[in-house]
Point group: none
Chain length 191, copies 4
Amino acid sequence: MAKPDKREEIVKASLELIAEQGFHGAPMAMIAERAGVGAGTIYRYFENKDVLITELYRELEERIFPAIQEGYAPDKPIREQFLHLSTGLLKYFIENSLDFRFIEQFHNSPYGVACRRDKLMGTKAGCDIFHDLFEYGISQQAMKDLPLVIIFALAFGPILAVARDHILGFIVLDEAMIARTVEACWDGVRR
Amino acid sequence: MAKPDKREEIVKASLELIAEQGFHGAPMAMIAERAGVGAGTIYRYFENKDVLITELYRELEERIFPAIQEGYAPDKPIREQFLHLSTGLLKYFIENSLDFRFIEQFHNSPYGVACRRDKLMGTKAGCDIFHDLFEYGISQQAMKDLPLVIIFALAFGPILAVARDHILGFIVLDEAMIARTVEACWDGVRR
Amino acid sequence: MAKPDKREEIVKASLELIAEQGFHGAPMAMIAERAGVGAGTIYRYFENKDVLITELYRELEERIFPAIQEGYAPDKPIREQFLHLSTGLLKYFIENSLDFRFIEQFHNSPYGVACRRDKLMGTKAGCDIFHDLFEYGISQQAMKDLPLVIIFALAFGPILAVARDHILGFIVLDEAMIARTVEACWDGVRR
Amino acid sequence: MAKPDKREEIVKASLELIAEQGFHGAPMAMIAERAGVGAGTIYRYFENKDVLITELYRELEERIFPAIQEGYAPDKPIREQFLHLSTGLLKYFIENSLDFRFIEQFHNSPYGVACRRDKLMGTKAGCDIFHDLFEYGISQQAMKDLPLVIIFALAFGPILAVARDHILGFIVLDEAMIARTVEACWDGVRR
DNA sequence: GATGAATGAGCGTTCATTCAT
DNA sequence: CATGAATGAACGCTCATTCAT
């Protein structure tokens, strides 16, 4: 018997609907239907819609950070580490546009703030790699001596913006363009 | 108070509520209450909620672009022009955090896409200055030869992220820090 | 100075809108606009919407009954009197479809009942002619000895139905067809 | 009460309210209350108010046509067929006055027109019997050679008017009076 | 008198959540 | 455990009516 794991189905349905239609376009009944479960069943796995969404976000992050760390060599020069991680992040978003669009929706909602706070504090798992890399880069005088928050902004701001434009079809990013974009981000943070 | 001007009150109440609570936290009845008018009165000035929001956005842009152009000297070097405009933009957002938060909400909604498209096409008034500057910068080989979309991302991505962090209280930006941040953005786009 | 008589304009606008769109499609603001007066002005002439409508109905009747009596010769045989009046009524409705449609709307509303009661009691001016003719016809044994209410139904039921069908375009009534229809109505009531 | 069947309750409440008060007097909330269900529950059974009303009308017709055909013998003379059907119709309306009043409301609304058109075309089930009978009656020269639309008007116009008067209490119809009224209708359509 | 901006109760409809089965 | 019918508060919006000008 294939056990599609209802929880999994619910999470998947939520991701798709929210990514494609926004929070407005994803009522619980619709999520339930797409997940192939009863509406009430969702509440066995998630206390309420907020919890479902927050949990979904958490799971996404758990998928993303390992993915972009693949092939990551902590002994390489800082610049190469930065390019590796940033390229990985951008490619991940391009290849998993549903994830990206959900994350954007999420960040632009009440939850987003608390979440961001946690990340910057470094209390949130996943961002650690970036956190550590940036601190190290600054201490090594390879990167600008700016508050971490600003380094994050310089590094990820353009990445997210470019990913969005790609997904919305305003631009098509090939390997070369990705490389040049990430390189430009490095120019922003490097000393 | 000479003339309460209900339209003004409605626009102000909408801005505040949407900026503070998001679209969800701004039902028409609440906007009306905060504006000190009856619920039906809103509909004398705005055909429906969508129109109210779109109009509000438009008015915001009309305020922003003139503000950041103040003291703009088109004959200065490209780098200084860039720094001037970007600093103006960042400062405007910091000093008008409600405007900024509303705009962020707006961009993250169905309207946002169409709006963004117009902007990139340069068909939308206001962005022209940036559009023209970037095209000129690229042609003069002062800036990287990347698609405009990406230049926009490199320039504004960090600005918006930093403004957000400031408004959320994750960082306090003084003059010096603003200057350094904008400088770093220039590093990202300059040749 | 042309004094278009605001009251007249209001009545005309109401008739048109209600006839064309039904009560739903005739809000006071729209009536005011079409009448070329301010919304509040209507309330100078009519206490409220109900009064406006009732009054409009009354005025319509005052126009109709004289119109169909034109050329009426009370000394002709009963059959000819019946044909004359019924033909007049049907033609009036066909030629004044707005009037007809308004009356239909009106009859199908709470007002309608009270109005109909008044008519049957003969307390309402206008119906008198029919009332008198039918009573006379019965007494002369030219018409069936049925309660007046039923005679009215037999005479007017088909007339109204046919007028409706004509106006809705389900049939086109020429002179001959009108004559045959009215003749058939007579067959229904005659002895 | 074995099974309250909410759908049934909703339909019944709608019928009563609309018949008694007209469409205006039957807001969804009131229908829900009278049906003893939550407001939202109605929407589980009917997509929206229009659908509810249309569906209600359809169900009424499904009840009526079988009812009046009871004891119908298609091999009897045309006159008797006509009297049988017409008497059945009139009796049904008298005995089910809510049904009648709802149908009157319905016919006097945007839906009514489309519905009427379908009926005249004979594309609508139920009216077939009348349609067929009238066509046959005309071809057999038992009935006047008039367009079907007019035959319908001559036959049903008085029936509906009389039913209305009875329900509104303007007249009390006993068996004899019903028979005489229907007979008079026959006089209207017969050759 | 005449106006039309302002009102707010009331409408049709949605949807997160509950709970009897 | 899982269901999905049921709920009702809340939404965006309309419109008869009022009243300051």
